[in-house]
Structures are given as structure tokens and as C-alpha cells.
Symmetry: C2
DNA sequence: ATTAATTTTGCAACAGCGTTGCAAATGAAT
DNA sequence: ATTCATTTGCAACGCTGTTGCAAAATTAAT
């Protein structure tokens, strides 16, 4: 586990620190998306708020994690499963938010449908967020 | 114009105040979605931040306007064109955010596509946010 | 038209999220 | 071990949104 995490950091030319190791392990262990608050709560060692923010930003920049826009105006983060790299994200899958347990899932296998916008509009990226009840809560 | 706005307020059993008249007129005039900051800036008379927040919340509750979740974690508001009522919104259209001018559009004619989630998930609502370049900016 | 009851507003205070500057601590390289 | 570059923690700040409460405005009743 720790080896995998170290490899990811090295591969992205990031120095190995307790903070980065800890946060990246949390993502590896979790099947759900995590918020900043989740990470602060779940971390074994205590890390400063600011450090966590900066680490998350670094991971997003490097293409290690991606952000998930939610309807309640909070930012969730999850591992990139596709081959994302610095400045080039390709996380075009559907996200699901369970209204019962609050869990955000990446539905990595479900691709974003085509959306017909007016012909004088140019589409760069489409985000799909599905709200409902997950398999554990029904 | 003002008559229309007054009718909407009366129809929703809201008392007629300068603040509500002003904000509702802004929405009637605008073809774009508006943020709290937009409203504060565009209002002729000065209204307290808190009053604006409360008015927006009231309008959302009454089904006069709906919120639009955006990727950059800010809330946009736009008039409900469909027949929304207190506690029952039916604003299931696609939203488009122009990366150039920052304008958020309601694409009222473009309905939300079906999304195939895993069969043990229950779908309540689907939000689709398209990012790109609008007709005025290309 | 006055008065009374209800609703709305402004102000002050507060909490949460995220950012920045800077000095101390840590990690990487020699 | 020493040096250099990067990361971290702390303090401070700005922005967004919320709450409590008294004053003002609106509505309803007389
Ligand atoms: Mn995802
Ligand atoms: Mn809309
Ligand atoms: Zn659930
Ligand atoms: Zn535009």
C-alpha cells in the first residue's frame, strides 16, 4: 500500500512527506469521494488546514485526483482512475450523490451522454451529477 | 413590467416591498442567471446583503427562481420558466457556463438526458452543467 | 384615516471555507 | 554533514452565508 503511494508521488516528482503519504493513502483506501473536512477528520496525524488545502491543490494540478462539483456547493475529491496528467484531466464519468448517507460516488463506467446545445455554442466539458439513493441506503 | 412583478408577488402571497420588486425586476430583465453579488451590484437602491439572501431564499422556496450548481462552487439563480410552485420545482433543463464571459444560461429547451446508473441505485434528480464558449464569445 | 398585528428589513455578530505571507521545519542533493 | 529547495504551521485576512434582535415597513382590522 505504502509502496504504491510512494511510487505515485515519485512518478509525479513530488517529495515524500508524511502529509502527502497520509492523504494519498486515505484516497487509496476509500471507495467514496472525500471532502477537505473528511480528510481532516480521517487523518491519523493532525495536519494543518492550510497544508491539506495545498496538498489537495497539488494533487489536482498533477492529475492524481479530480474535483467533483456538488449541488450543495461543497467540493469533493476523488482519485483519477483514467490516465490523467499534469494539466490534462480526462475524468468524464457520471457522479452520484446519495441524499441519505451523503456519499459521493464516481461511476467510472458510465460515460457522459451527448448533450445537444444550440449550434452556435461550443462545448468543452460536460458535468453530470445524479442525486438519489445509493445501493446501501435503499 | 412592474405590474407583472407585482402580480407574481401577490400570486405567491408575498407582501410587496421595494426589495422584492427590485430583485424580481432584475431577473425579468436579465437573460442570464444572476449571482448574489450580481444582484447587489445591479440594484438601483442599496439593499443589505442579508436582505438579498433572504429574498433569494424566499423566491426559491416559492418556486419563482431556481438555483444552478456551478463547477466553481458559486450559486447562480434564474427565473423558473416552467410551472414551479412552493416545494415543487421542475427545472430539468441543461445549464451552460461560458468560460469566456462567465455567463450562465438556462437552456430551457434542452432536456436532461437519461443516465444509466447501476440498477441498485435510485435516481431522484439529474443536473447537467455544460462548460464551453457561448454564441457571443466565439 | 388610525390603530394594531404581522412581516420584512438592517445591523451586528458569528461560523465556515479557502487564500496569502512569512518564518521555521523538513526533505533532497552534494 | 552541509547546503539548497520545498513544504509546513501559524496568523491573518476576505468572502459567503447564517442567526438574533430591534426598528421600520407592510398588511389587516377598526
Ligand atoms: Mn469522479
Ligand atoms: Mn435554469
Ligand atoms: Zn447512500
Ligand atoms: Zn460568453
Amino acid at each position: 500500500m505504502k509502496d504504491v503511494v510512494i511510487d505515485i508521488l515519485k512518478h509525479n516528482q513530488l517529495s515524500i512527506t508524511d502529509n502527502r503519504l497520509g492523504i494519498l493513502e486515505l484516497f487509496q483506501k476509500s471507495s467514496k469521494a472525500l471532502s477537505h473536512a473528511d480528510i481532516e477528520r480521517l487523518s491519523e496525524k493532525h495536519f494543518d488546514r492550510v497544508t491539506i488545502y495545498r496538498t489537495l491543490q497539488t494533487f489536482v494540478d498533477k492529475g492524481i485526483i479530480h474535483t467533483i462539483p456538488t449541488a450543495d456547493n461543497s467540493i469533493m475529491y476523488a482519485l483519477c482512475k483514467e490516465a490523467c496528467s499534469e494539466g490534462h484531466h480526462h475524468d468524464d464519468h457520471v457522479h452520484f450523490l446519495c441524499g441519505q448517507c451523503g456519499t459521493t460516488y464516481c461511476l467510472d463506467n458510465i460515460s457522459i451522454p451527448e448533450v445537444n446545445v444550440p449550434k452556435d455554442f461550443i462545448v468543452h466539458q460536460t458535468n453530470v451529477l445524479v442525486n438519489g439513493v445509493c445501493k446501501n441506503c435503499r
